[in-house]
Amino acid sequence: MDDLLSEFLTETNENLSVLDVELVRLEQNPNNPELLSNIFRLVHTIKGTCGFLGLPRLEKVAHASENVLGKFRDGELTINPEAVSLILQALDAIKGLLAVLEATEAEPPGDDLPLIERLNACAEGKLAAASAAPPPPPPPPEPVAPAVAAADADRVSLEELEAAWNAAPGPSGTALTPVAAESAPADDPAQDLVVPEPETAPAAAPSRMPVPAAAQANGGGDDVRDQPKESAVAAQTIRVNVDLLENLMTMVSELVLTRNQLLQILRSQKESEFAAPLQRLNHVTSELQEGVMKTRMQPIGNAWAKLPRLVRDLAHELGKKIDLQMLGADTELDRQVLELIKDPLTHMVRNSADHGLETPAERLKAGKSETGRVTLNAYHEGGHIIIEIQDDGKGLAIDKIKAKALQNGITTEAELAAMSDQQIIQFIMKPGFSTATKVTSVSGRGVGMDVVKTNIEKIGGTVEIKSQQGRGSTFVIKIPLTLAIVSALIVECAGERFAIPQISVVELVRAAADSEHTIERLKGTPVLRLRNRLLPLVSLQELLRLEDEEGKTKTDDETFIVVTQVGTYTFGIMVDRVFDTEEIVVKPVAPILRHIEMFSGNTILGDGSVIMILDPNGIASATGEMAMGSEAVTKEAMAVQASRNEDKMALLLFRAGAGAPKAVPLSLVARLEDVDLTAVEMSNGLPVVQYRGKLMPLVPIDPAFILGNEGRQPVLVFADGDRSMGLIVDEIVDIVEEKLVVQLTAERPGLMGSAIIAGKATEVIDAGFFLTQAYKDWFGSSSDAFEEEKTQRVLLVDDSPFFRNLLTPLLSVAGYDVTAVENATDALALCEAGETFDVIVSDIEMPGMSGFDFAQAIRRGSRWQDVPLVALSSHATPRDLDRGRQAGFTDYVAKFDRDALLYTLQQTLSEQKGAA
């Protein structure tokens, strides 16, 4: 059976059993809004899932029931037994359909019109007439379904459980027996071993092996039809109560502690007959521990598995193009946490796709690509798991939220006026809040963000919303590592031990009077020189206001520094001692201690003592360095700086003729060859060699240079497309990486100027000049250098490294400050990053975003919309010129016409200046 379908069946059956119970309760307490909204959500979920799986018949019934429940919720209908039994009938009908679906993997043909009509009538308040003659509902497959604590159940691979089971020694002899005995047979399997098909009554089979238990459970059910299929499914997974797992986990921890104690005793005894069995116990315990741990952890990707399909179907249904990206799918999460965030996540992705993204037409109009993007990203950060759901849609409509908030009476006009956009956005987390004007079958009923928020807060997480009008919105879910297992460094300070999550520890430094690192103080503030940088230090003792140990005076004699990184902020935590790392299970601190920011939890160490886990985020913010805004700014500044630093280029140093060593950007050079001079022929008065089946002209740097007749000569091969040219040199010296700053412009043709390279004055040759020597038409004719202003910034966008490297020196020689990027996306990123340029030179044909698209993107209201834009293309027909102008290019230059380029740049910039 399709995974999706079988999961749907399991889930829906569970939901239905819950609904049965809840509806009856609702009948008894008609005024319980919590109960009602829970029922509404469950039915909504069933409807939604049916819609995605393409089960129209089920969906219709669920939809009609939801309508009635919606009226209940809004107070338009009063809850009465007739209405409730009608809904129960609808649920029975759903169960009937599910049973067929399970057997045949398809919905039965036909429809449920009578039932739906009655539901609709009920929704319109005309129940009395309809209920007089209730048509027989489809026969429910099973009369009673055992109430399953579905929300609390967890799914574990049978293999893992069995492995854990087998690792536990048999019931006689060892100290382990109580653990094994308590953990399984003591519990009635009828309660805990729930087969994914809840309708089959599990037989109480106190068996040692889960598999037969599951199989027997199935056999015990009446529904024989499903048996073969279900037992196949049951063989894969069983549901185990989380409490049971939790219990197992605790037991295993105890076992580990006991094992450690035993080993300790063993070590103090030289010869012992216990040695061998204890070794065995040791191994078994480790494996058991690992197995039980594994049962709890699951990559978040499992929760995402349904999403691609969901998004695809959604895209079809809504007529949108949606690209779903999922990053960090292997981030491990505790199962319980995972179960709890699964639905919120699905909901949020659905929301992003439905409300967030625009239709292709709207997107094009807004100047975005047709395909909208929804990105899911999960990662660990400073003891938390962060999940981001990002879309590049229209962002949240502040005005609509305001209007809706007023309409719902959540707030007043005056309050709204005083609120920031950020605060207004938070309204979407309020119950019954949906700004979608149209109620689609997908969303818009106002079941949503409030549920998401409640579910996430239940596990101690937070949801943060960021939205930018027209640019999309981002939801950031932050879940503490509660229950998750982390590796932690154990440190000691003032006699107390603490754990620091290993994930935020960068390195450890020992600082002592006799070591190369010493702590220095700036007006009492400790700092450390670490690899030519000052590292701010935080004294854990002062931070936690720990008293000195008795009889010990505090000295700086020997201190250990835990270099910690939070975001981009790196700092050192000073501690007295460092122990080893330990795998710990993070447990939340007691509620009365939650306000202490410094701790993210606590745990029990191997030796049985309780230890607090430090929260690097909390420490960073407590030390005052961490205003979010400033962090973002520095990050950006760093990125900009980094992009500048990347201007360094590899240069090939060589000697040719007399004078200084010469250099040429290495990237221009296609190959280095050693040409056998006897192979050189003359053609058209120029020396050529046959090179890779073609004639390659050889050009000397010094025109007076005369090629010898024999021996070998190093040659730099320049190539572009199918043309290549060999530059004859005397000796290849070195390859260095430096920022090319041409300081003296040369008067001689063929030289770009002089620069300091590798500490020596070096002549930078103008490869372009020699290219034209070989092929007159390589660029068009060469020309003299000309005068220009030195301060203009040029952004060069070209996908060909050849031209980038050719034009960068050319333009810098011409006095421009050149930044070269290889595609339009990078260029737009620079725009976002706040860079400014006086003129942009862009290639037209580029992979990804073409020059035309790039021009359009810039002209459409970006920060650069007034920056002149010069197109650079190998095609320069009048039609191209036209198209270029239409796209927003200021001017159009043929790619090989560098004089024209320089001239155009000059013209464009002076025009710009004149206009300004």
Partner: protein, 165 residues
């Protein structure tokens, strides 16, 4: 005595304490004063335990300890009751209680026997009682020769009101 104030009516893990008849209390002494906690709220009685201090915690929080794999927060009841702290060389005892799924260990001087007390001997807190004591106590039992203060565990562990004070 008001007829309504007969019983410290409280909910303990879903079970309502039945009104009328006798109530069972675990007794303890702190600074020679007898205190009592309804027996159903008590999970465990511990001897002296190794406690991990928690920096920056409220002073009443003595630290945390490991009780069979569960982390229990230890509360120094003396400090909570505005009494001077316990002497270091005098190991005390602890009563472990459960509040909304979290375990707390109440550190006292000593734990006594379980007393079954008649509701007729129960009385509300005298109006002149120390405000802090009045806050955490539901009432007083008149015993032979001494008085027993009934501690209200949720209020005893409610630190927010205390911080405001």
């Amino acid at each position: 005595m008001s007829p309504n104030a007969k019983v410290p009516a409280k909910k303990t893990r879903g079970e309502e304490v039945v009104s009328g008849g006798n109530q069972d209390y675990v007794t303890m002494t702190i600074a020679d004063q007898l205190f009592g906690i309804p027996v159903l709220q008590v999970q465990d009685v511990l001897g002296h335990q190794k406690i991990t201090r928690i920096p920056l915690a409220p002073p009443e929080v003595a630290g945390s300890l490991n009780l069979r794999g569960r982390i229990v927060t230890a509360i120094d009841v003396r400090l909570r009751l505005n009494l001077p702290g316990r002497l270091r060389n005098k190991p005390g005892m602890s009563i472990v209680v459960d509040l909304r799924g979290e375990l707390y260990s109440l550190m006292v001087d000593s734990v006594g026997e379980v007393l079954s007390l008649s509701n007729d001997d129960f009385e509300r807190n005298p109006a002149t009682l120390d405000p802090r004591w009045r806050e955490v106590s539901t009432g007083i039992y008149r015993l032979n020769g001494q008085l027993m203060v009934v501690l209200d565990v949720p209020r005893l562990l409610n630190f927010t009101t205390m911080e405001a004070a």
